[in-house]
């Protein structure tokens, strides 16, 4: 199980071996939508790292100190989505007041993140794997760094694709998916790194 491994392995596992986009298929809507240029991909990637780490830690605490003691595990889904949504809102207000430059850099990506399933998934997975707080933190960091890496990689390839001679019916989204499949094939190779 994941919770018996050391922190480095947990990070690697979340980062590339079980990459959130390519192996777990989460966060695809934003991935396909935003990866059309590198600049916005970097913005989104960094915003995702920031929010995932914070949101996962908060929902971990909510689950272990609020839901578990009162036997309310069945409220997990409702609680997590509300926690994440309100946290993103709260964070947006704080950043706007305290760090306007950062707020400008994040732009529209911060509110969009609420509906990014990668965030909610990392919160659920951390609970499912029964990680402790530190492991959960590293796990969230790994997942979001994996998202960031792949979206930037993909955006740089997609910019070149615009000039490539692609058959008419494959232009746009279809070729993007097929390309994602090929990168996913490469990432499948990392499975041999260690046994989970």
């Amino acid at each position: 199980m994941l919770n018996e491994l050391n922190l480095g392995y947990i990070f690697l596992s979340a980062f590339i071996v079980n990459n959130i986009l390519l192996i777990r298929f989460l966060g695809l809507c934003s991935f396909i939508g935003i990866s059309t240029n590198i600049k916005s991909s970097i913005g989104m990637g960094i915003a995702v790292i920031f929010v995932t780490v914070m949101a996962c830690s908060i929902s971990w605490a909510v689950y272990n100190y609020l839901l578990l003691p009162f036997h309310l595990e069945y409220l997990r889904t409702v609680t997590f989505i509300l926690t994440i949504a309100s946290f993103v809102q709260f964070e947006e207000i704080i950043i706007r007041k305290k760090a306007p430059a950062l707020y400008k850099a994040f732009g529209i990506y911060l509110p969009l993140i609420t509906t990014n399933c990668a965030i909610l998934a990392s919160a659920f997975l951390g609970i499912d794997y029964r990680l402790n707080f530190l492991q959960n933190l590293v796990f969230a960091l790994g997942i979001s760094a994996g998202y960031c890496l792949v979206i930037i990689l993909f955006a740089s390839m997609r910019e070149r694709l615009d000039t490539a001679p692609v058959p008419k019916n494959f232009r746009g989204i279809p070729i993007a998916f097929i390309m994602t499949g090929l990168i996913s094939l490469v990432f499948l190779g990392f499975k041999g790194l260690f046994k989970l």
């Binding site: 069945y74 659920f124 494959f170 746009g172 279809p174 499949g181 996913s184 094939l185």
Partner: protein, 201 residues
């Protein structure tokens, strides 16, 4: 005046505005659980249940919910139905529940559900919203079944676990692994483009 029942609302989701191939929404569960037909069917059924329930509920409460808190209210409604199906499946079909894994609770953030609640159910009456829910649900189920049958047939030579291609078939293993899902959906969208005209982005 709008008519009370418009049967075309049912058909809209199935072909013309199919949530997957036309609107490109809700892709995550589609790719993740389409490795075998059985899981795909379970996911589709769960999806129709949640979409129908949330569409009806949102449509019933649409006049009493203040406009600026409607999104959180819709999310809570959806999350409630998702929790119901999550725990029912865990009780009645533990194997399916295990196979669907984290993708079942993740239906909460599925864009189709919130999208239909916001774009359709919050503006239309209960019967039309129910029809829309069923139509969109069937559209989603159809899409996931198509992808799952291609992947299972090529990847294992079986359909619903029954051997289809004979014992000499060498499984095209990559199809049931993650890359296969991406490649199959890429080809399917290209085929849809060539039949139904290109989607305007």
């Amino acid at each position: 005046m709008k008519k009370i029942i418009e049967p075309k609302n049912l058909m809209l989701g199935i072909w013309k505005e199919n949530p997957i191939f036309y609107l490109m929404l809700g892709l995550c569960p589609l790719l993740a659980v389409s490795g075998s037909l059985r899981d795909a069917l379970g996911m589709g059924a769960a999806f129709i249940f949640v979409l129908l329930g949330s569409n009806i509920t949102v449509s019933v409460i649409r006049k009493i919910v203040p406009a600026h808190v409607r999104i959180p209210v819709f999310i809570v409604v959806i999350a409630t139905f998702v929790s119901v199906i999550d725990y029912s499946l865990a009780a009645f079909s533990p194997q399916l529940h295990k196979n669907l894994g984290v993708y079942l609770p993740l239906m909460v953030v599925n864009c189709i559900l919130l999208g239909r609640a916001e774009a359709f159910a919050s503006k239309n009456n209960v019967i039309n919203s129910a029809l829309d829910g069923i139509g969109m649900g069937i559209g989603f189920t159809m899409a996931i079944l198509i992808i799952a049958s291609i992947r299972e047939l090529l990847g294992q030579g079986t359909l619903f676990g029954i051997n289809m291609l004979g014992d000499n078939y060498l499984p095209f293993l990559i199809m049931i692994m993650p890359p296969g899902a991406f490649i199959v959906i890429g080809f399917l969208i290209a085929i849809k483009n060539s039949i139904g005209g290109k989607k305007k982005c």
